[in-house]
Amino acid sequence: MGSNVLALDGVSAYYGDSLVLQEVSFSLGEGRLLGLLGRNGAGKSTCMNVAAGLLSPRNGHLEFFGETVTEIKPEELAHLGVSLVPQERRIFKSLTVYENLAVAARQPPWTHRDPWEFSTVFAAFPRLGERHKQVAGSLSGGEQQMLAIARALMSNPRILLMDEPSEGLAPQIVMEVIDTVSRLKEQGLSIILVEQNPKLVFGIADDIVILNSGRVVLTGTAADLNPKNLDLTEYLGIF
């Protein structure tokens, strides 16, 4: 395992007076895919918001590439190479597909051998290429999800945070999304994949973190925590 690119250390976060994350700690190794599992309301998306700088933790701290960060703005984190594919896509619906991608395009100093640019993104997501002049709000749900992923890639991130990318999609489209995530992992990108469906995550993740009621209840490698050998009911309250 390489060095850690992102770590949450004893992070507690609140929405107003509601405690949502309680002393959450886990880390993402370089080039690894971490699956963050948990049922509705477990705190997965809050973890992603904290990791993307959209929500400041009240206790604990974040580490990026070995450096401790306490208060950081989301735009500063983006410049460090963190990119979020948010829940519900949150694409710019009134902009065209091309403009959605153009607004995120960046060639940072750490850009790897094959940087993401329009040609590579359109090669990876041909349907976006075909519809590049179309207003993004008129795309189908699956296409919007592809656009959200493509937009995140256009910033050539070092860490990709994906918050339930399969949410609300048809099973065939879900498999396309998961294939895309696998390809990105093979290309060496460090990824945190938030999902509710353990079957999807265990198939591609290196490491697993399970959250329940805002606490980390289980961590380990995907190989060690094989769902066949593990009673996930205890941790997820499902199956």
Binding site: E75, H79, S83, R151
Partner: protein
């Protein structure tokens, strides 16, 4: 090709307007429409492209009027007066931005309204500086390249050139990376932050850009009337220009121009025939909200698309019946 032809015909009609319009009164109305259209386009940068509704833009418009008038009164030339007016408008826009961007939504509306009311109060009450309700009269219009602008036709052509330049700059701005990122902040401001953008700074520059063109419109207004009074800073002016943007269609390039045309024509032409023209304007605005809530330009486009699709489907039905 069809679009290009339409643009050329429109341009030719606009340029030749003083020749075929006949009456000086209507040429002046056309000049007024263009001046208000520039002002509405400036406000559209905020309302349509940034999602920031300002109810105090008359403050920026009026600052350009007053600064230009002061400098001309003090004996400075037109060039200095214009530069000074732009500098002052941008400075006031920066103050507007720094204060109003601390809030969003209703707070933003109220702060912009409050700042413009302060400026109106100064113009109305500080008589030593502004001559109060009597206003300031300027003696002459400028003579760019030695061309006298005393006749309505020449002034109209000058206003048209400024208007077309404004339209061109707005079209370029809309497509530019800055324009795209500004529209991104309107759609998903948190997402723009997560993509690495300083949302506050983008909005601040948008206010400066909008303020600059409000200043352009203000200066044209000053030269058109050769007079400025506290009325230019009033809430009514801010509300009217907002009405132009909303009735024409926010976020579009043509919408504010159409809205400006509608309001100026009703104010100046319909008021000659109908005493309660304000009521007519209100009724038209309510009708727009009911039938075309997205504004006249996008609403008309939608209507045309619907009519064409109906004609197409009827044509297809007749064809299939015949075969």
């Amino acid at each position: 090709m069809r679009e290009r032809c339409l643009i050329i015909v429109t341009l030719m009609s606009l340029v030749s307007l003083p020749l075929w319009m006949g009456s000086d009164y209507y040429i002046n109305i056309a000049s007024q429409i263009l001046i208000w259209a520039i002002f509405a386009l400036a406000l559209n940068v905020l309302v349509g492209w940034s999602g920031l509704v300002s109810l105090g833009h008359a403050g920026l418009f009026g600052m350009a009027c007053y600064t230009g008038a002061w400098l001309l009164e003090a004996g400075w030339g037109h060039f200095t007066a214009v530069l000074g007016a732009f500098a002052m408008t941008i400075l006031v826009s920066a103050i507007f931005g720094a204060l109003s961007l601390r809030t969003r939504g209703i707070g933003f509306i109220m702060i912009t309204l409050a700042i413009s009311q302060i400026l109106w109060g100064i113009a109305y009450r500080w008589i030593g500086l502004t001559n109060g309700d009597n206003g300031i009269i300027i003696s002459a219009r400028p003579t760019p390249f030695g061309i006298e602008m005393d006749t309505p036709g020449v002034f109209y052509i000058f206003t048209l050139i400024v208007f077309l330049l404004t339209m061109l700059i707005m079209a370029i701005f809309y497509q530019s990376p800055f324009g795209v990122s500004l529209r991104g902040t309107r759609d998903q401001s948190r997402r723009m932050s997560a993509l690495g953008f300083n949302v506050w700074l983008i909005r601040f520059f948008a206010i400066l850009f909008s303020g600059f063109f409000s200043g352009v419109a203000g200066l044209l207004f000053l030269y058109y009337h050769q007079y400025v009074s506290p009325h230019v800073l009033s809430l009514l002016n801010s509300a009217e220009v907002l009405l132009m943007v909303i009735s024409g269609g926010t976020g579009t390039l043509l919408g504010p121009v159409v809205g400006a045309g509608l309001v100026v024509v009703i104010k100046n032409v319909a008021s000659a025939y109908i005493e309660r023209w304000n009521m007519l304007l209100g009724v038209i605005f309510v009708a727009i909200v009911i039938f075309m809530p997205e504004g006249l330009v996008p609403g008309t486009q939608r209507l045309f698309r619907w009519v064409f699709s109906r004609i197409k489907s009827i044509g297809a039905a007749i064809k299939s019946e015949a075969s």
